[in-house]
Amino acid sequence: MDSDLLNAIKRIIVNSTGAEIDIQKLSDDLPLVGNILDSMSITNLILNLEEYFGFTFVDEELIAESFENIVTLAELINKKITS
């Protein structure tokens, strides 16, 4: 996976949570949900990803599997920006 994409997603995740998280400590396979993302930060994250990458998620993409970790999120985003 493209490291620029992974780093961009990490930055957006940190901004969406509003919490003080050290971006360096976010490993690609760290489980996100219930770990650093609650429902409010997921809502913010969805909007922030859409604004940053300039696409819109469809309902079918907004499922638990997509938000499992940074890699699963990156795979979804990569699919959308390359399609």
Binding site: S39, M40, T43, D59
Partner: protein, 276 residues
């Protein structure tokens, strides 16, 4: 000197519904300009209540009668959220204004709104020149995006709870099947959802005919891109629109923000300046 006093009462709104109204009357030095307030959506209404009441009392101390009311299906007003539409709410605003003119005997009424309430006032006042000013706090400019984002709170809750996976029907499918979807205790019906989606983004068509303030409130140093962009679009055509930004917690999204003096002071000073 007579003390300010407050009156709570019911009046008829859209489709004959009984709406709750509340007027703050100044005890002395009463101005002939009143202020009507339109509240934001769902939980934002409850979370902002304290700041709004405090700000209303400050306006009242300045001599402005202030009218607050609950839209149909909200707060203590009649109707269920899953049976109202944006048009009902626009009609509620019109009914509320009539009642306010009648009860407070004011000559003109400034419009003050927060979030969705501010967005509703923009639609209500579209192409009308009947208000001395509009004070629009964190206005919702795009109803379509707003309701989609609201519904996404349900999606996010389900993602966290692990109950939303590939095998489950989507929110849209469930809304289609059941007629509504419950988001944080608020039943969003197909009809209400569609009325949000169908409400046009006013964009550059919104050209205020009286002094209007977009008050952006966030913890960022600058206004959001969307408000800034809308301001630039409109201000090239209308000299009446101003944009101010306050760095503060969005009190309508925080249970613990009971006051926001920065916002109250800014609103008060702006109104006094406009009515000089």
């Amino acid at each position: 000197m007579t003390l300010n006093y407050e009156e709570m009462f019911f009046f008829r709104g859209s489709k004959g519904r009984k709406l709750l109204g509340f007027i703050h009357y100044p005890g002395s030095s009463v101005r002939n300009t009143g202020v009507i307030y339109c509240h934001p959506f769902a939980e934002e209404k409850n979370m902002s209540h304290s700041v709004v009441v405090k700000t209303s009392r400050v306006f009242c101390n300045m001599g402005f009668p202030v009218f607050r009311f609950d839209l149909s299906g909200c707060g203590d007003s009649e109707g269920e959220l899953n049976e109202v539409t944006i048009n009902d709410w626009l009609e509620d605003i019109s009914c509320a204004l009539d009642v306010f003119y009648d009860k407070a005997t004011v000559k003109n009424v400034g419009l003050w709104g927060l979030g969705l309430g501010a967005g509703l006032l923009m639609h209500y006042s579209f192409n009308k020149n009947t208000t001395p000013f509009m004070l629009l706090l964190a206005p919702v400019l795009d109803f379509n995006t707003y309701i989609k984002q609201f519904i996404r709170r349900k999606i996010s809750t389900q993602i966290v709870g692990g109950t939303l996976s590939k095998s489950e029907p989507t929110i849209s499918e469930r809304m289609e099947k059941n007629g509504f979807v419950n988001v944080m205790g608020y039943p969003i019906s197909n009809v209400l959802y569609k009325s949000f989606i169908d409400t046009p983004h006013l964009g550059e068509k919104f050209s205020p005919l009286s002094p209007t303030l977009f008050l952006s409130i966030s913890q960022n140093e600058k206004p959001s891109f969307i408000i800034q962009q809308q301001f630039e679009l409109i201000s090239s055509k209308s000299n009446y629109l101003e944009l101010e930004h306050i760095m503060a917690e969005p009190f309508w999204d925080r249970y613990w923000r009971w006051e926001c003096p920065e916002v109250t002071d800014c609103c008060m000073n702006w109104i006094l300046n406009k009515l000089k």
